[in-house]
Symmetry: C2
Subunit: 195 residues, 2 copies
Amino acid sequence: MTEELSDRQKEIIEVSLELISEKGIQGLTIKNLAKRIGFSESAIYRHYENKTEILVSILNFFKYNIEKLFKAELNTERDAISKINNLLFNQFKIFTASPSLVAVIFSEELFRNEIILMNKVSEIMKNSFDTLTSIIKTGQEKGELRADVEAEHLAVVVMGALRLFVKQWQMSNHEFNLTEKGSELSSSINILITK
Amino acid sequence: MTEELSDRQKEIIEVSLELISEKGIQGLTIKNLAKRIGFSESAIYRHYENKTEILVSILNFFKYNIEKLFKAELNTERDAISKINNLLFNQFKIFTASPSLVAVIFSEELFRNEIILMNKVSEIMKNSFDTLTSIIKTGQEKGELRADVEAEHLAVVVMGALRLFVKQWQMSNHEFNLTEKGSELSSSINILITK
DNA sequence: AATAAGTTAGTGAGTATTCACTCTGCAAAG
DNA sequence: CTTTGCAGAGTGAATACTCACTAACTTATT
């Protein structure tokens, strides 16, 4: 799963994320990539078989980060509230640190004709959602979270709010501090889902 | 605002929505459009100046529907809960009836290089969000909704849940009944935001 | 009523551009 | 002397869009 990337491959991914954050997924072309790195277009194919492979690599990077975050939180001994709190906080921090990832997760529509990419994206989403649901379920059983609403619905609410908030941040051209304002949103969510 | 579309223009929009729902925004090309309608590519330019104009037309159609829905609900004498309930229900019904609109609202990333389209999309989102926030605010003042969480955060939660749920429906290939399951989600949301 | 003029909606060929990707050859390193 | 990393030139497919032209109507003029 760790993929063992070479230095050049890492550089290609880095520059790809740069380009995506600047001009969106559409800005990620072989030409732009080569120009930015400073070598010819053909050189890229020494390191990646094709463009899809590059995108797969990016999604794997994303998947790895997200899942590490979610799984880690799932297996702690904290209560559900602080698990979810941490989850949201870390998620906001990741996006603040690399805004290009925001463009990536909202590019599903563009991946629609590439089945591999589509599957990767749904996998990531489903995984996060399931982990969150499971955290909530446990929290309900322990009496930490309200149980008058089913866990899956609470998960939709939490994850939906997270995504929309990040989207609003992106559309405002990062006008507000995502981590800071995100903390406030997080507190509000806490109030809503606590017993 | 009604745009006064000719019969042919209406047909072009209809077929565009068809193509989008089948193959995503990427499936909407002048070639595909012309082939489906049954005339030459150049004929399209008799009815629309360029492809962007077609997309603007689609977004206007979407904007019109959404805003009609939100504004109508804002001005009724019902309580906030049933306003939001209706809003969600009608929204789910619209998407069920024309799933292509889902592809459109999640295509923001693709519109990023076309400022006109980008602006149209943010306008639609901002408008809906503001109307929803205003409904919630009124509900809080009247004591119908919980006031221990600020209105904007409640709006993020409601709208975020709506969007994520629709996204999940789309990604499942419309496997479940959006209107039906959406009603259930709506009930859960009610519970969360009621005093 | 007949002709002339103008409009509308179409065709088909062709444009420029962009895209991902390939082929050949070269130079340096092991 | 073979592998690796790269350059340069090129390919074919796809894209949105333009151009000159035409057939079918409609409207105005005599």
